[in-house]
Amino acid sequence: MDANKRTFYSIPYMLWIGLFVVAPILLVVYYSFFDLNGNFTFANYQNFFTPVYLMMTLSSFWYAFLITFFCLVIAYPAAYFITQSKFKQILLLLIILPSWVNLLLKAYAFLGIFSTYGAANSFLKTIGIGSKQILFTDFSFVFVSVYIFIPFMVLPIFNALDKLNPALVYASRDLGASSWMTFLKVIFPLTSSGVKAGVQAVFIPALSLFMITRLIAGNRVITLGTAIEQHFLVTQDWGMGATIAVFLILIMVIIMIVTGTRKKGVL
């Protein structure tokens, strides 16, 4: 391919990235330097380092960590099970299927299931535990988020496990390694790229969740996403909303870099 052709083919990509990735980020950064009256200011950044927003950042991190952790704990064995199964494609499809349903619809369904007189509580009653408050708790928030994000964790791990050459596992066992040792020294390192991709795909969106903080957690969980939504739609303080978004972008970049470099370290 000569240089001319190459530039020609790169036009759609460049246009796309320029219009929908670079320009919006620049706009976000630009807006973050203005106050309510449209005056240039650094006050938004000072404001971010007050206890309110720092606490919010911490709690966003904590919940995103919990969500990612539980996703991983469930997704890794699940992905392993799927690769070993005869019905790989169907099982995988079943995992992906719920992600085709609108997020809000799923959240509303959980409102019904977890409510005081909902299915979950009827079940708890029949098995003798008795009615509990499930909705509007940390538990329900993490549970629903994990449910929503799990396909994004299963898919990359499944791909990595599927590509793993079984001969390596047999070799490890032949050479006397226990199953645990084989997993620790052979399977996991070779699939860590999938785990990283999954962690990125879950942790980053989990940081900025906002709708289900209200629907499922009843605003008992406040994340940075909630604050951005409020600043843009209610307060109309676009500057502050943009500032929080800038920090979210920064945090995401850091996560990408950190999870990216480790790849070289392990192998």
Binding site: V52, L111, G112, Y117, F136, I222, Q230, L233, V234, T235
Partner: protein, 356 residues
């Protein structure tokens, strides 16, 4: 490659055919391009049957879109983009929109049904002479509670702080509503801008945290309907709608005072079909139409004549049609300006982050 081309051609042909069919269908139902009307209203705030009736009567096709907060609506109108012909903001937003030159004046001669509106709801402080806005609904903010679960009566905001209501209260996710309740419970105005008073109100709200089960949006209707909580801070329309289906609910406007609000129809600057917009506003003011709409929506109608077409028990219900002497202790939200609004929201955000 040939197959691909054939497929592409087929897709195009089918698309054009469909477009043509849609066009013919529109034409046969008397709807031609140019006579569309875009209405921007709160969710579930009109009887959809009436839209059909308006379309049939006038031949204007109505595009109906909804919003869930005044602020979100105003942001969209400010940005332009969609040609909203009629919108239904609340009073303080009308003031803001007028100040930012986002509204067209309304030609009263094209809205003859305006004469049916009760004088009580005309010429109010946010729009003198109703130059820009025509009353649609009005109502209050109050407490909805389950009489099976709550012993005795609730009459005041301060009753909510009782320890027996632990984890039983649902609140609306609105800074003005919740901060207003805090201010009212202390005896201050819900338009108070005194920093000390605001801090005091926020501290008082923090003490309420153990009693609050959740702070939610429109879902509050569904949640209260499912007995998810026994007490809810709601708008009067939500209350009346739920009370229509459940006998064990009671609504009260707290004695310390509360919010009295008005939602009015306006013609925003994004409007293209101003003629149809006037026709629509006039249509909604028709007493029979207003009565049907009110029965569906459940809020209180400002239309005096419409009351005659409505069931007696609905009209005489003092909880939803409080007489003038009762509404006197209620306050209308004033436009406090962006700085103050930001302050209210910041305090509200802090209150939400306050853990049990």
């Amino acid at each position: 490659m040939k197959k691909l081309m054939q497929a592409l051609v087929a897709v195009f042909l089918i698309s054009f055919l469909l477009l043509y069919v849609v066009d013919r269908l529109n034409a046969s139902s008397g709807q031609t391009e140019g006579s569309t009307l875009t209405v921007y209203n709160w969710g579930d705030y009109i009887d959809a049957e009436l839209i059909d009736r308006f379309e049939k009567e006038t031949g204007v096709k109505v595009i109906y879109e909804t919003f869930d907060s005044n602020e979100a609506m105003m942001t969209k109108i400010e940005q332009g983009g969609t040609t909203y012909d009629v919108a239904v903001p609340s009073e303080y937003t009308i003031e803001k929109m007028r100040d930012q030159d986002l509204l067209y004046p309304i030609n009263h001669s094209k809205v003859p049904n305006l004469k049916y509106i009760d004088d009580r709801f005309m010429d109010l402080s946010f729009d003198r002479g109703n130059k820009y806005s025509i009353p649609y609904f009005w109502g209050t903010v109050g407490i909805l509670y389950n009489t099976d679960e709550v012993n005795g009566e609730i009459t005041a905001w301060n009753d909510l702080w009782k320890p027996e209501f632990r984890n039983k209260i649902l609140m609306i996710d609105g800074a003005r509503e919740v901060m207003g309740m805090g201010l009212n419970s202390l005896g201050y105005s819900l338009n108070d801008t005194n920093e000390a008073h605001l801090q005091e109100a926020k501290a008082k709200l923090d003490e309420l945290t153990p009693n609050i089960k959740a702070i939610v949006g429109d879902e509050i209707r569904m949640l209260m309907g499912n007995d998810e909580a026994s007490i809810g801070l709601v708008w009067s329309g939500t209350a009346s709608e739920l009370m229509g289906t459940k006998d064990n609910l009671e609504y009260v406007v707290p004695e310390e005072g509360s919010n009295l609000w008005f939602d009015n129809m306006v013609i925003p600057k994004t409007a293209k079909n101003i003629e149809a917009a006037h026709a629509f506003i006039n249509f909604m003011l028709d007493p029979e139409v207003a009565a049907q709409n009110t029965e569906y929506v459940g809020y209180s109608t400002p239309n005096k004549k419409a009351l005659e077409f409505m069931p007696k028990e609905m009209v005489e219900d003092k909880r939803f049609y409080p007489p003038a002497h009762m509404t006197e202790r209620l306050e209308v939200y004033e436009n406090l300006g962006p700085e103050m609004l930001a302050r209210y929201n910041e305090l509200f955000l802090k209150f939400k982050m306050h853990r049990k």
